[in-house]
Symmetry: C2
DNA sequence: CTGTTAGCGCTTTCAT
DNA sequence: ATGAAAGCGCTAACAG
């Protein structure tokens, strides 16, 4: 284990000064072709790994980063993503990052448009995007590309865009997994209830739809013959849900278990609780506060987690390292899918972000 | 968000020099009582958080850390713990850590004694211990305490010791979880096979036993009436396993599923594979290379992971931060229990240690 | 016992 | 275009 190589070492090897090496490493220009050549030769030979914390100490330049996601509600999915972003900022406290958070109403495309227009006014160094509306986001990314502003997606990605990177779980696989789980715990011949969010102006290929696809394909691939029963629910008029659920479960039915593909589907668990339905296995996604509560109380049997804090953390970390060193970045990044139960939820995420 | 507070700021506020503040922060002595008082007053008011990477840069002192665990075999459990330790060393590259690895033969108490004796000769600044033999480890910890050398446990902890911290999963809960999983996927009235390692000189309360306890208690608590059938297996004479397994499964039997509590129990999966036994659900612990292979091939249905890399990482990280700043440390640290299936194994651990 | 100073690796400014 | 030098926050050696 030899001594770590420093800029000074590289400078000596290439016969130039440390200042020149630094200019090359950061593409700051003002370097003659022979000098650049010499240094790049050396760089090829040695494995130079700058220490970003030390860089940060002397780095005077400030970076402006824009975060745009659906509005953040306490205890819900997007809050975790923002926590992760904050954590990265703490870890990289030496780098001067000015962080501008612009959230939009995920149920209102006009709000999204408005927010995106604001963002385009900002002379940002990078943007982190949690998307909902495809058309609007496509337009945003086009404009960012024109201005050469790098952007990173969290939660999901989108075709026909060129993000610096994306951090997402594999939503299709999530649905596929949910199908496997539900079919392995319910009677072979029973029906499966699938809970649908009644949302206004829903998009075509959002995360829930991908999960739905994975779910359906599992059933087909494995020749499962369980009948699917749709269970609607409304976020807007929760009182309706009780009626629907009561009608479904208090009559004669053959439903062995229920799944939901949207983090708010956990509402169904409350519904079950209120109506004394305790023997129907329920599987869903996302560790929102209310879903976790239902998991602990036994109304949800399995929750699938998609590491939102980790996604946010990695997005910001990646952006920072790119901004400082402009090094190439891995584009496709899938995070873990975690299976949580009542028994292990208390240990989940205790340590991921120890400080 | 105000500017980060520095030693220089504290010095000015307390009317002393930065040198004095540093001496106090590191308990280096040579400080008068009034000076100490003044600085501690200021420290109480402001939230000073030194940057360990910058500290490391000027820290001339070297630390000597001893790692002792069972011998490391490629692709097995302890290798992951060592990977995690290495990762921490990379992240804290600025701190000069001399790392001495002393492994013992986990099947041979004499080897353990010998290694521990060697360790006691070293004038270490800290020790990370992965324990197998209780009596020997107790003796080791006593001596370390006499010499005021802090030690940290990974994988499991032990009563009547005073570690600086431990990083472990909750093994009891792991077994409890395994009982929940197996009983929810097998027919209600079927038997459960439990695979036992035939080890020589096994200890009383090792991790497998704790898992066994959790498993049994789940069955009792939930009034499960499944009969338990012991399935012996031998690491030493693997050819015997095939005979046992054939005898058990090719006759008439009522075994609905099998569990194993020791990371090497995955041998059973190979056994199943060789003998064409594909319809018996198998649940086990630890993501060793061979267990993961069996999971991917469908011979294991669920694997429980206990984040060994994370344990190692956190142990070393905690030790480093303690050595540098001597700040109090949280003692009890349980890591996650992860439920892995064929469907999600490919996404597991991809990102935990991104560099 | 305490303040001053040099230096860690890196960036930036300023002469040249 | 380039090297020399100062300075980021922190620690260590030294002079008093």
């Amino acid at each position: 284990m030899q001594r770590k190589i420093r800029i000074k070492d590289i400078a000596e090897m290439a016969g130039v000064s440390p200042g020149t090496v630094d200019r090359i490493l950061h593409n700051r220009g003002n370097v003659s072709e022979p000098a650049r050549k010499a240094v790049e030769e050396v760089l090829k030979k040695v494995n130079y790994k700058p220490n970003i914390h030390i860089s940060g100490m002397s780095l005077k330049r400030k970076y402006k980063v824009v975060i745009t996601t659906p509005g953040v509600t306490e205890g819900e999915y997007w809050e975790s993503i923002h926590f992760g972003i904050q954590h990265a900022l703490e870890e990289y406290e030496n780098i001067r990052i000015q962080c501008l958070v612009h959230t939009y109403n995920e149920f209102d495309v006009y709000s999204c448009r408005e927010v995106y227009d604001q963002i385009l006014q900002i002379d940002a160094d990078g943007v982190i995007i949690g998307l909902t509306f495809k058309e609007e986001t496509l337009r945003l990314t086009r404009k960012l590309e024109e201005k050469d502003i790098p952007y990173i997606f969290v939660d999901s990605t989108m075709e026909n865009t060129s993000p610096l990177a994306f951090f997402s779980s594999d939503h299709y696989q999530c649905g596929y997994l949910m199908a496997k789980l539900i079919t392995s715990i319910i009677p072979k011949d029973s029906d499966i209830g699938v809970s649908y969010a009644m949302r206004i102006g829903d998009e075509g290929a959002n995360t829930s739809t991908l999960r739905q696809d994975g779910f359906n394909n599992y059933l087909i691939e494995k020749n499962k013959t369980n009948k699917i029963q749709s269970i609607p629910y409304s976020t807007m008029e929760p009182e309706k849900n009780d009626t629907w659920v009561r009608d479904l479960f208090h009559g004669n039915h053959n439903i062995g278990g229920v799944v939901f593909f949207n983090s708010r589907g956990g509402l169904l668990a409350d519904c079950f609780a209120r109506n004394g339905i305790t023997n129907i296995p329920l599987i869903g996604v996302d560790l929102t506060v209310s879903n976790v509560k239902a998991l602990k109380n036994g109304y949800i049997d399995f929750l699938i987690g998609q590491e939102p804090e980790h996604q946010g953390f990695l997005a910001m970390k990646t952006l920072i390292e790119y901004l400082v060193y402009r090094r190439p970045v891995k584009v496709q990044n899938y995070v873990q899918l975690d299976i949580l139960t009542k028994e292990i939820i208390d240990y989940y995420n205790h340590f991921n972000y120890l400080t």
